[in-house]
């Protein structure tokens, strides 16, 4: 089973549109889809679930104060390095969005007024779609433990593919290079970096490539909207210098956002580039 993760470093380069188009091609051979952009998930808009099962996502336990026991000494606040404890009316109060769950406060409390309790941080879904199974998630807005949620949906997608004998898992990744991106790339067969022809796009691609390399995941590029600026030759040059293969180039076309606007997979406006990209992917992951 091969796991292909669509990433970009920079946001808004077209990861989700490209993933959806690739999903249409991959579904002919058998694929499990996974949306690992858990705090801004959009793949379901193009590949809607016909039915789905919702599973609560419990992040790490967080601290909770029993105000009746709390003596207001402030030791928990002094210990906490995340600014997660405030003293309000002589009692400790946990700022949930700040608590990272280390449990240090429970240990320094002289009267055992603090305990660690499970916190729900969102949901994840096992869905049936026209293109195959889709595993995706929705972190609560402002929720914690996004990396953990990425790992959860990815594992579920991998297990489903293995169980049902599908050759591919296709992951729509998050932007950036921190914990969610690291979680999405870990263990992947190939990182497909969707890049736009801008200085920012190039800068972000190179940082992403470093992360992928550290994680032992080979990178290949899809140059999206290649003709929207005059910078495409720069991208090609940088890829050549860095040894990153370019799988294909998709031209800028208003038909792509138009397809997205009607909740359609933009397969046609990406033809024939997307077919070439898919055969490059299957070649590289052989």
């Amino acid at each position: 089973m091969k796991e292909i993760v669509i990433v970009s470093g920079k946001g808004g380069t077209g990861k989700t549109s490209v993933t959806a188009a690739l999903a249409s091609l991959a579904s002919q051979e058998g694929v499990v889809l996974c949306d690992a952009d858990v705090d801004a998930p959009d793949l379901w808009l193009l590949i809607p679930p016909k039915e789905q099962e919702e599973i609560p996502f419990m992040g790490m336990d967080g601290a909770e104060v029993n105000e009746e026991v709390c003596i207001g000494c402030g030791k928990c606040r002094d210990f906490c390095r995340f600014d997660a404890v405030a003293m309000v009316d002589g009692k400790a109060r946990i700022r949930q969005g700040k608590c990272e769950g280390c449990a240090g406060c429970t240990m320094v409390c002289p009267v055992q007024a603090i305990s660690m309790v499970p916190r729900r941080q969102g949901s994840w879904f096992k869905a049936e779609t026209e293109k195959g199974k889709l595993v995706y998630a929705r972190l609560y807005p402002g929720g914690e433990n996004s990396g953990m949620l990425v790992t959860t949906v990815k594992k579920a997608a991998e297990e489903t593919a293995k169980r049902e004998g599908h050759p591919f898992v296709l992951v729509d990744g998050p932007p950036g290079i921190a914990c969610p991106a690291i979680a999405a790339l870990t263990g992947a067969s190939l990182a497909v970096a969707v890049t736009e022809p801008t200085e920012s796009g190039i800068h972000d691609l190179l940082r992403l490539h470093q992360i992928a390399t550290k994680l032992d995941v080979p990178t290949a590029v899809v140059l999206n909207k290649w003709d929207v600026t005059s910078l495409a030759p720069r991208v090609r040059e940088v890829c050549l210098e860095t040894g990153i293969p370019i799988l294909g180039e998709i031209p800028f076309s208003k038909e792509i956002p138009e397809a997205v606007a009607s909740a359609e997979v933009p397969l046609e406006p990406m033809t024939p580039a997307i077919q070439k990209i898919w055969s490059g992917i299957t070649e590289l992951t052989k």
Binding site: A40, L45, D61, P141, P175, E199, S200, R207, K214
Partner: protein, 281 residues
């Protein structure tokens, strides 16, 4: 002091492009790149920032002689950042360590001290009245939040008006960059993706009780408009900016379109006036 955050749920909607333009329109301002995973604001502003300090997390260092290999530190670490086997010293996985200090507190033998582990840096540059600060996460470090906090704290010591270019999403890093803002400008685009992510971003902003406004970039591509979503959150749509190939080209070259496109400049001057009015500046 006023802090304005330029944020979005969806990435690539034009945050940095708009943040750079508002900074140039404002003139005397501290512009902050808090998108520490992929910082691009400096380039758009024509800045060449130099490191002023590094950001680090305290991480455990073990004393070979004092450590009795009891394994308590590893047992109490909730992030699974420590493992301890047999006669070996505990081993730290730096990527998982949050620097919480629990291990050194629980060690019964005083065998753990804390060293600082660099995870990123803050850099600075200035051009006339425009000061620029950039946070940059080191590649391979998973936790951007301390770098975001650090660069914003530094900016607050520097000026009266601060414009923060925030990271995308609706998770911890976006919260860190927006929670202390006096006003949040959410940038979206006219696609269903833009709308879905704007809804989530508006939920964060209303949980944080921050006043906000919305700007729709490339408003003519994608057939969607946030009027209704915004009304339900009682947040105004301050501007709708159609796609322009010329703006895309200037941005592509790494220059703020505020300098390279007179059309964009007019749109941004108008947006800046609305933001000032809304934010009570």
């Amino acid at each position: 002091m006023t802090v304005l955050a330029v944020a979005s749920g969806k990435g690539g909607t034009g945050k940095s492009c708009i943040a750079s333009s508002l900074a140039l329109a404002a003139g005397q301002v501290v512009a902050v790149d808090a998108d520490v995973e992929e910082p691009n604001l400096g380039k758009l502003l024509g800045m060449a920032p130099k490191e002023i300090y590094s950001v680090s997390l305290p991480m455990p260092v073990f004393d070979e002689k004092l450590c009795k290999r009891c394994g308590l530190c590893a047992k109490e670490c909730r992030f699974n950042a420590l493992v301890q086997f047999g006669d070996l010293l505990p081993r730290l996985n730096e990527g998982l360590c949050h620097g919480c200090g629990v291990c050194s507190m629980v060690c019964p033998h005083g065998a753990i001290t804390e060293g600082s582990h660099v995870i990123g840096k803050v850099s600075r540059d200035q051009a006339g009245d425009l000061a620029f600060l950039e946070g940059r996460l080191d590649v391979g470090c998973p936790n951007p939040v301390p770098v975001i906090k650090s660069v914003i704290d530094t900016a607050k010591e520097e000026g009266d008006l601060i414009i923060v270019d925030s990271p995308p999403g609706t998770a911890c890093s976006m919260v860190e960059a927006t929670e202390q803002a006096d006003y949040v400008l959410l940038v979206t685009e006219g696609t269903p993706f833009g709308m879905a992510d704007l809804k989530l971003a508006l939920e964060v902003v209303s949980d944080l009780k921050r006043p906000a406004g919305v700007v729709v970039n490339r408003s003519d591509l994608g057939g969607s408009d946030p009027e209704e979503i915004c009304r339900s959150h009682d947040v105004p749509v301050l501007a709708r900016i159609p796609f322009s190939r010329q703006v895309a080209q200037v941005y592509g070259l790494g220059e703020s379109p505020y300098r390279g496109s007179s059309l964009w400049r007019e749109q941004m001057d108008r947006l800046w006036n609305s933001v000032k009015k809304e934010a009570g500046l």
